[in-house]
Symmetry: C2
Subunit: 339 residues, 2 copies
DNA sequence: TTGTATGCGTTATCAT
DNA sequence: ATGATAACGCATACAA
């Protein structure tokens, strides 16, 4: 049977209060000898405090919930990895939940976790029903947003400057002489609208009028990237450059292009976003806008734990710089045929 | 403040015992009217039972631990997704832990979870110190192994026939006329040794003597795939076909080959394993041995929950068939130059 | 410096 | 058919 605090107390010849004190390091007024005696007893019994019981007493569970759209998306699994690592270092566990951009699941996940065992939430998925999160926040549950700067959420946030990322990607295309630049954005991601705004701004800087038909919105999967590409290339005047708002979409474009015999980067320049494992798995290697995944992951965890201990949100907004990583899918615009 | 069972009882004008009964569906001897009254009160107060408290009473936490080598590896994140989905359907949460094939983390993860909040474990990572898991099992903690059939673990297992997968991949190469077939295997994965055995068996079937220099062991990352390829191609007689024991390794080979101007599949045939997102993200698309990820994920969860409720292991071994998916990286062996 | 007693929100046993 | 009450393992105010 598992040892309880009573077993330890008996073995050490003290009361449970004393044991409790050494567990919680309230050993201010305690003879060092008793402390050692208790510690020894804990060792020998292989005693570990029952988290459930101490949680009942108002202590936390040392567990955090991680809400992402889809853990099987490389970007999220990569950031989940860094979150997990950091959390473990700090003695926390992380429960993961994919919302699948599905309102029902969003709600169910939060319910599942809330009255259960988490001390706080990291949320990296856009909620269609924001009241779910807002209720949480109003009730004083620590929440830190990751990957999105949603003004509707008055909590701490860790994210990259998506506008800048979109801007710089587009500028890179423009500097290469492209004028017909399309963007494929993620329908439901807040970050994608920022990236689109950056794209628009870059166009403006170069005095180029945006075209509706060059702006496509879809879900961020490979298959949709292929579709988007197909549609774009049925246009009377197809783009010579594409900025895809995530790597999966970009991969889709590459696949579609291969299928149609369109060479990248000679006939089509392409930029992705995220710099996931996918970006280096393709040939040619994908030019993409990198997010500092490791630093972001570590930072959200630190911030969340800090707020859990603090008891309230610091409402910080931590903004990282995206970085355009030029690899092999971008190049000069093809000569325009003047007709 | 969160509502407790007392609040509900008061509101419904009954005792907490009665409320508890409707919570747990022990409504055998209960007037339907009271039951409804209680339910209504719960609704109105937005009452959710405190899992910690009920866990204290011996009920489980409805949480399972998922131990994988690395959640950022697409294979594991994809299977984690299906596990999560199924677990949620059944009202369970999943806590994920990457062991990083690091003995310290292995131990720490289990400790983190054990005395904490999980009702059982799904373990899909090879433990270098098996006693950690065996202690768990001996203590009656439900454990189901995923992805590996380790004879040292006397519990239920869900996995593919790795031997067969390795065998069929190699046979495919052989049928294409290849004789110089190399294998790149994952150093630490039990599954990889089975796949290697299948490879060896296939060779034997065709009367081909295995060559030591064609058998390379490494960690399953893209970078290592590149290195392995480089080494293989510095051999006096490089292979004309490679079987990589996971998709990442295979991607590494593709990248290395591109770098050296070696065309796939014309000059080199390549097969991967797992059929992750990576396999369809490359060009040409990767021929690979698929594991039925979705079915395996669903099955482990079902099995684990069953055993949690049952109170003991059923010690089932559920074996799935791998499936060779022939895409575009495999083809006929180049004509041999007789000299 | 250490121990006693109470409560945290449940479940379960036994009365009523 | 329903209610009173004792655990569960721990933290903490208060006593000693």
């Amino acid at each position: 049977m598992k040892a309880t605090i009573y077993d330890v107390a008996k073995k050490a010849g003290v009361s449970i209060a004393t044991v409790s004190k050494v567990i919680n390091n309230n050993t201010g007024n305690m003879r060092d000898s008793t402390k050692q005696r208790v510690k020894k007893a804990m060792e020998e019994l292989n005693y570990h405090p029952n988290v459930m019981a101490s949680a009942l007493m108002g202590k936390g569970t040392k567990t955090m919930g991680l809400l992402v759209p889809d853990i099987s998306n490389p970007f999220f699994s990569e950031i989940a990895k860094t979150i997990e690592d950091r959390a473990h270092e700090k003695g926390y566990s992380v429960i993961m939940c994919s919302t699948d951009e599905n309102e029902e699941k969003e709600k169910k996940n939060v319910e599942l976790l809330q009255n259960k065992l988490v001390d706080g939430f990291i949320v990296s998925s856009t909620y269609s029903d924001k009241s779910i999160l807002q209720d949480l926040i109003r009730n004083g549950v620590p929440v830190v947003m990751l990957t999105q700067d949603d003004p509707a959420m008055d909590v701490s946030k860790v994210f990259v400057d998506d506008f800048k990322g979109g801007y710089e990607a587009t500028i890179h295309h423009l500097q290469n002489g492209h004028h017909n630049i399309a963007i494929i954005s993620e329908q439901l991601a807040l970050a994608s609208v920022k990236r689109t705004e950056g794209y628009l701004q870059a166009l403006k800087t170069y005095g180029i009028r945006p075209r509706q038909e060059y702006i496509v919105r879809t879900r961020g999967k490979i298959a949709n990237g292929i579709k988007a590409f197909d549609n774009l290339f049925q246009l009377p005047e197809p783009p010579t450059a594409i900025f895809a708002c995530n790597d999966q979409l970009a991969i889709g474009v590459m696949l579609g292009a291969k299928e149609r015999g369109i060479r990248i980067p000679d006939q089509l320049s392409l930029i992705g976003f995220d710099d996931t494992i996918l970006a280096t798995a393709t040939y040619p290697r994908l030019t993409t806008v990198a997010q500092p995944i490791a630093r972001m992951g570590k930072t959200v965890v630190n911030l969340l734990i800090e707020e859990i201990q603090l008891g309230h949100s610091r409402k910080e907004r931590i903004l990282y710089n995206p970085q355009l990583i030029i690899r092999e899918t971008t190049g000069k615009a093809p000569k325009v045929e003047t007709n």
